[in-house]
């Protein structure tokens, strides 16, 4: 029961933190909760499918299928998060101003809403598929009873969700004006961390050179499986011993998204004058 709780907690809390941030970042968009819930449901369904297909996925691309699949999922999430930030830098001010105005048409925010759904679904799918595999292994191993696996899993999921909710509730205390700055900074860093992770997957099947491996090693100082290390991993993409190429991806993602946001902002300013 304990091992089920620990693994489920570890996998779910990363997704929960991301969902908490997305929920805070989009709080002024009407009906966004429904889309987040739909994203979680789609992600869970997807996780079961991916877990069931693990064997098939793994044998694709000469045994690099799992890594390519993960890298693509992460890549899509990076693009969507970047797009979200750029979209927000154009519309964030309007949204803040209109926050109390009820009845913004969904049409206007349609693209943003589908972005929310997809990003949440991808995050849940990635963390969830491993959890499903693990729980399945526990059950078929015969040592654990169904009740103990289910209760352990539920406990872990609950703890993960509570942490995500605490982060969300904490962010809601930030004044609206500053909230966008905080969430968009976090989203840039999360996207950068995902890009670095995608690079790591490609390096481990030798599709991408690692450059210097590792560039540094903080495993002794701040282990990635500690609560602080894990939280930093989820929030800013902390990696205790990254390859040089991962750092290149991390920095490039930050630069690209910030440049996009800046361009949209200055285009908007010149349009207003």
């Amino acid at each position: 029961m304990l091992s089920a709780a620990i693994i489920v907690f570890r996998e779910s809390f990363e997704a929960a933190l991301l969902i908490g941030i997305i929920a805070a970042a989009t709080r002024s968009i009407a009906q966004r909760s429904r889309w987040i819930v739909a994203g979680i449901a789609a992600g869970l369904a997807g996780a079961c499918v991916v877990a069931a297909l693990t064997g098939e996925i793994a044998t694709q691309f000469d045994g690099a299928g799992q890594e390519i699949f993960n890298a693509v999922v992460l890549g899509i999430a990076v693009v969507l998060l970047g797009w979200h930030n750029i979209w927000m830098s154009a519309h964030g001010a309007d949204l803040a101003a209109e926050a109390r105005q009820v009845g913004r048409s969904v049409g206007e925010d349609g693209a943003e809403l589908s972005m929310i759904l997809t990003v949440v679904a991808l995050a849940v799918l990635r963390e969830g598929s491993e959890t499903v595999l693990f729980l399945y292994g526990l059950l078929s191993g015969g040592e654990a009873t169904k009740t103990s696996v289910a209760s352990g899993g539920a406990l872990g999921l609950l703890m993960g969700a509570v942490l995500g909710f605490i982060l969300y509730a904490g962010m809601l205390r930030i004044p609206m004006r500053r909230l966008f700055a905080v969430t968009s900074t976090l989203i840039v860093l999360i996207a950068a961390g995902m890009a670095s992770r995608a690079a790591q997957f490609l390096i481990q099947v030798d599709l991408l050179p690692g450059l210097q491996t590792p560039l540094w090693d903080f495993n002794a100082v701040l282990p990635p499986d500690s609560l602080v290390g894990g939280t930093l991993h989820a929030l800013v993409g902390y990696d205790a011993s990254p390859a040089g190429m991962q750092v290149v991806f991390y920095v490039a993602t930050i630069v690209l998204i910030l440049t996009g946001m800046q361009m949209v902002r200055s285009a908007r300013q010149s349009a207003n004058h």
Partner: protein, 105 residues
């Protein structure tokens, strides 16, 4: 320029150079060998054969690797080039028993 051309000519040869391969077997949720000696400073292809019926996740913080090996299947993961030292790894789905270490020397 000549040196650059020479280097470029060498590149395909490097890519074709046989990977240094080492094998790990997972059975009864344990790794064999549990201590794997590999040369330092070289990229290594680690072949992992999971003979158990259930999936295992080969994971190592020190090696910065994480890969699910489905039950009854073989897979691989590249590691290194490593500085001399000990790099513990474990099976995330059965970490009580599935423990091992790569020793680069």
């Amino acid at each position: 320029m000549q040196r650059l051309l020479f280097a470029l000519l060498l590149l395909p040869g490097l890519a074709l150079a046989a990977d240094l391969e080492f094998s790990l077997t997972i059975s009864e949720h344990r790794f064999t060998p549990s201590a794997l000696r590999v040369p330092a400073g070289k990229k290594i292809k680690l072949l992992i054969d999971n003979q158990d019926a259930t999936a295992e996740e080969f994971e190592s913080h020190e090696l910065n690797r994480e890969k699910v090996i489905p039950g009854k299947s073989k897979s691989f993961v590249f590691i290194g080039p490593l500085a001399p030292g000990r790099y513990p790894f474990f099976g995330d789905f059965n970490s009580k028993t599935a423990q091992g270490v790569v020793i680069a020397e």
